[in-house]
Amino acid sequence: MPEFVNLTIALIVAAITYGTPFLFGTLGEILTEKSGNLNLGVEGIMFMGGAVGLGGVFYYEKLTGNANGIVAVIVGILCAFIAGCIASLIFSFITITLRANQNVTGLALSIFGTGVGQFIGEYMRVSEGGYIAISNSLKGFFQNSPFPAFLQEIPVVGPILFSSSVFFYMGVVLAIAMHLFLKRSRKGLYLRSVGESPATADAAGINVTRYRYLATVIGGGISAIGGMVYIMTIAGCVWNHEGLSGVGWLAVALVIFCLWRPLSSIWGSILFGALMILYLRLNIPFIPMQIYKILPYVVTVIVLIVSSMRNQKENQPPEGLGLNYFREER
C-alpha cells in the first residue's frame, strides 16, 4: 500500500482516539444546552470525571486483586458519571433553584471542578507512593478494540471502522440514541421546548424545573465520562495533572460547531481530534505547534459566522439558552 494511504489511515485512527473524549463531552453539553442551561463548567466536570473514574478503576483493581476487565470499564464509567452528576447538580441548584447567572456559575464550576479533580488525582498519587496506574491487562480493555482481529485486519476499512476503543462505539450509539430522543420522542420534544421557550413549556404544563435538572445532571454525567475516557485511553491510565486541560473548553466549542446536533458531533469530534494531533502527524517546519492547537477554535468561529450569516432559525442556539426561568416574572 502506498505510504500516503497508510499515513491517512493512521491519522484517522488517531483522530478517532483523540476525538472520543470530545464526543462524550459534547453530547453531554448538547443535552444540557437543549434544556436552556448553558453549563460552561464542562472543563471542571471532565476533570472530576477523569480523576474519579481513574480512582474508581484503580481501587477496584487494588481491592479485588484479580479484576475483571468488563467490570472495570463499567466501574470507570459509573464513577465518572456520578462525579459529573454531582458537579452539575451543584450547577443546577445554583442556577435553576437559586436563579444565579449561568455564565458566572459555569465559570466558577470550571475552576472548582478543575481544583477538585486535581486534588483527588494528586492525593491518590501521593498516598499510593507517587505513582498511580492500572495493570496492563486491564488497560487493554479500555484501549483496545472490542472487535475480533479478523475484522480489524480488513485492509483500509478494518482499521478505520473496527480498531477503535470500546468508548468510541458507545459514543456513536449514544449520539444516535440522543438524536432519536430529541427528534422523535415526546419527552425530547418537550425538552427542546423547555430550552427554546420555558414560558411556553410551562404554560403547556411541562415541568420546566424537572426537565432542566434532569437534562443538566445527566448531561454533566455524560460529559464527565469523556474526562475518564481521556485519562484511560490517551493519557495511558496514569494521573497527569496537566493531561486534561483544555478538553472541556473544546467540547463546549464543539457544541456550537455541531449546531446542537448530536449526529454532527460524531464527525465533528473526529475532526477536532484530527486538528488536535495534526502537529504530530503533519509537521510543517517553522510553524509552531501552538498554531495547530488553535485550529479547532478558528474552525468554530468560522462555523458561527457562516451559520449566523445564513440565519436559518433551525441552526440557531436554543432561544432560552443561558436564561433562567422564573414563572412570576413577565
Partner: protein, 510 residues
C-alpha cells in the same frame, strides 16, 4: 338550555409584594355563555385569569369548577379541569411546527406520531373553519395565524372553558369577525368562554355577561342585554368620561413634511409602499387609517430613516430654513432635525424601551448625547421621569423600577410621554393607545392635541375609526401600500373611511 355552572370564583385575592393585584374577586360563569372581563389597565384582569390557568396561585379564596372546589396549582391542573387560556403574548415555540406546538405538554403514553397529530389538527381546522397548515413553522406565520394555533391548541385538549386575553388587539376587522364567528360556534357547543377586551363594541356584540374590575376590586356583573357602553364605562372608571375629544383648530398650518412618490420594499422583496404622496402640516393631526399591515409601519419607518426608501423624496421643512430631503439621512440626523417617533409595537417593549431599566434609564436613551461632560446627566432625565410618572399617572413603585415589570398600559405611557417630551416638530405615533384603557387614552389624545396647538405636525396611526374621526384633522387611508384617499376628518363618515380601507379610491383594489 339548562344552565350549568362552569366556573365560580369566590373571594380570590392575590398580592405581589405590597401591591394587591386582585382583592376579593367573585365571579361565576355558566356553560354556553360568553363573559367579557372589563377593566382599566392594571385592574388585575390578566392576573385573575392567570390564576385560573395555573400560572399564578391565589393567596386567598377558592375556585370551583362544575360546582366542585378545586386546587389549580399548575397549568397541568388547569388542563385537567378543562380550562384553556389563550395568552395575550402568544406562548409558542418559534422553531416548532404548528402541530408540534399543539401537542406540547400532553400526557399521552403512546408514541409521538406526527402524521397522526397533523391529521387530528386538520380535522379540528375543518370543523371550525380555520386555515392552518399543521406542518408550517411558527416563525413563518402571521400574528392571526399564531392566534389560531393557540386556539386549536386549547381545543385539541378538549377544553370546556376558554379564556382569551385581548384576542382582537392584533387582528384586522375581518379576522376579528372570523374569530367571533368561531367563538359563537363554541358557545353553541356548550363551552364557557371568558374574553378580556377593552373594546366596548366588541363586548356589546359578542358577550352574554360583562364582569367589571377596577383597581383589583370586583365591581359587578351585568347582562349585556340590559346595559349600554356608557354604563359600562362608568362602572370601569368609576366616573363619567367625556366621550367627546376636544378638537381645536390651529390658526396657520404650515407644510412640515411632504412625501412624494415614496416606495419601499421589505426584506423579501415585496412592495410595501407604492407611490405614497402627502403633506403633513404643522398644527394638524394627520390620521393614518388602514387594515393592519397596509404599510403603516413601513411608512413611519421610512420617514424616521429606519427603513430604506427605494424611490421618491421626503422633504422636511423646519422653521426658517430651506426644505431638505430626509431620504438617505441616518436616523440620528433625522431625529436631531426634529422628527420624533413613538411606535408601540405589538409586543409593546420590542421597540423603544429597555425592559430591565427603570423610567429614568429609559429617558436617558434620548438624552445621553447631551452635555459636554464625560459623565451622563442623570438629573434631567430623572426630573422628566418624575414628571411623566405624575402627569400620566404611571403606576410604578419608583422611577427606577424596571419597565418590563409594569403592566402593558403603563409601559406605553412611558414610551409616548418620552417622545412628546423631546419637543419635536414632527411627532409620529403608531398604535399609541393600543391596549390602553379609556382614561389613559384620553390623556394621550390631549397630549397630542396640545402638541398640535404648539404647531407640531402630528402623524397618528390608529386602529379605532371613531377615535380617528374625532381626534384628527385629516385622515390618510392606506390600502395595500397605496394611498387610497385623504379625507377631511370633520366632514367624512366612518363608512367612507371604511370603504377606502378596502378599496383604492373607492374602486376595487386590483
Amino acid at each position: 338550555m339548562e344552565t350549568v355552572c362552569a366556573i365560580e370564583l369566590k373571594n380570590i385575592t392575590k398580592r405581589f409584594g405590597s401591591v394587591v393585584a386582585n382583592d376579593g374577586i367573585n365571579l361565576s360563569l355558566n356553560r354556553g355563555e360568553i363573559l367579557s372581563l372589563l377593566g382599566e389597565n392594571g385592574s388585575g384582569k390578566t392576573t385573575l385569569m392567570n390564576m385560573l390557568s395555573g400560572i399564578y396561585y391565589p393567596d386567598e379564596g377558592e375556585i370551583c369548577v362544575g360546582g366542585e372546589k378545586v386546587t389549580i396549582s399548575s397549568p397541568k391542573d388547569a388542563f385537567r379541569y378543562g380550562i384553556g387560556m389563550i395568552h395575550q403574548h402568544y406562548k409558542l415555540v418559534d422553531v416548532f411546527t404548528a402541530a408540534e406546538n399543539i401537542v406540547l405538554g400532553l400526557d399521552d403514553e403512546e408514541k409521538l406520531d406526527m402524521n397522526q397529530t397533523n391529521a387530528k389538527v386538520r380535522a379540528i381546522c375543518e370543523k371550525y373553519g380555520f386555515d392552518i397548515d399543521p406542518t408550517k413553522k411558527i416563525y413563518d406565520m402571521s400574528v392571526s395565524q399564531k392566534q389560531t394555533v393557540e386556539i386549536i391548541k386549547v381545543l385539541y385538549r378538549g377544553a370546556d372553558i376558554l379564556i382569551l386575553d385581548e384576542p382582537t388587539a392584533v387582528l384586522t376587522p375581518q379576522e376579528t369577525d372570523k374569530l367571533f364567528a368561531v367563538l359563537r360556534n363554541m358557545r353553541a357547543d356548550g363551552k364557557a368562554i371568558v374574553i378580556i377586551t377593552h373594546k366596548l363594541h366588541e363586548v356589546m356584540a359578542l358577550s352574554d355577561k360583562v364582569a367589571v374590575l377596577r383597581k383589583g376590586k370586583y365591581i359587578g356583573t351585568v347582562n349585556t342585554a340590559e346595559t349600554n357602553p356608557q354604563a359600562l364605562t362608568d362602572m370601569m372608571v368609576g366616573h363619567t368620561v367625556t366621550l367627546n375629544i376636544d378638537r381645536p383648530t390651529y390658526e396657520k398650518p404650515v407644510p412640515r413634511l411632504s412625501l412624494s412618490g415614496v416606495s419601499c420594499f421589505d426584506a423579501e422583496g415585496v412592495k410595501r409602499l407604492d407611490d405614497v404622496s402627502f403633506t403633513a402640516m404643522g398644527g394638524e393631526i394627520l390620521g393614518i387609517a388602514g387594515v393592519a399591515g397596509s404599510g403603516q409601519r413601513e411608512l413611519l419607518e421610512c420617514i424616521a430613516g429606519l427603513h430604506p426608501v427605494s424611490s421618491g423624496s421626503i422633504m422636511y421643512t423646519p422653521d426658517e430654513a430651506a426644505p431638505s430631503d430626509l431620504v438617505g439621512k441616518s436616523p440620528m440626523q433625522i431625529r436631531k432635525s426634529g422628527v420624533a417617533m413613538a411606535f408601540v409595537p405589538e409586543d409593546r417593549l420590542g421597540m423603544g424601551l429597555v425592559g430591565s431599566m427603570g423610567m429614568t434609564g429609559n429617558m436617558m436613551l434620548r438624552s445621553w448625547r447631551k452635555g459636554k461632560s464625560i459623565f451622563v446627566n442623570r438629573k434631567d432625565p430623572n426630573k422628566l421621569a418624575n414628571q411623566i410618572w405624575h402627569d400620566l399617572e404611571v403606576v410604578t413603585p419608583s422611577t427606577e423600577f424596571p419597565v418590563r415589570r409594569m403592566s402593558g398600559g403603563n409601559v406605553q405611557k412611558v414610551l409616548v410621554g418620552r417622545e412628546i417630551a423631546s419637543a419635536p416638530s414632527v411627532l409620529m405615533t403608531a398604535y399609541a393607545v393600543r391596549g390602553l384603557d379609556i382614561n389613559t387614552s384620553y390623556t394621550i389624545y390631549n397630549l397630542l392635541t396640545e402638541q398640535k396647538m404648539q404647531g407640531v405636525a402630528v402623524v397618528y396611526v390608529g386602529e379605532d375609526l371613531d377615535v380617528l374621526l374625532e381626534l384628527c384633522d385629516r385622515i390618510l387611508v392606506l390600502c395595500g401600500g397605496k394611498v387610497s384617499g385623504i379625507v377631511d376628518a370633520r366632514t367624512t363618515t366612518k363608512e367612507e373611511v371604511g370603504l377606502l380601507m378596502t378599496r383604492v379610491g373607492g374602486k376595487e383594489a386590483e
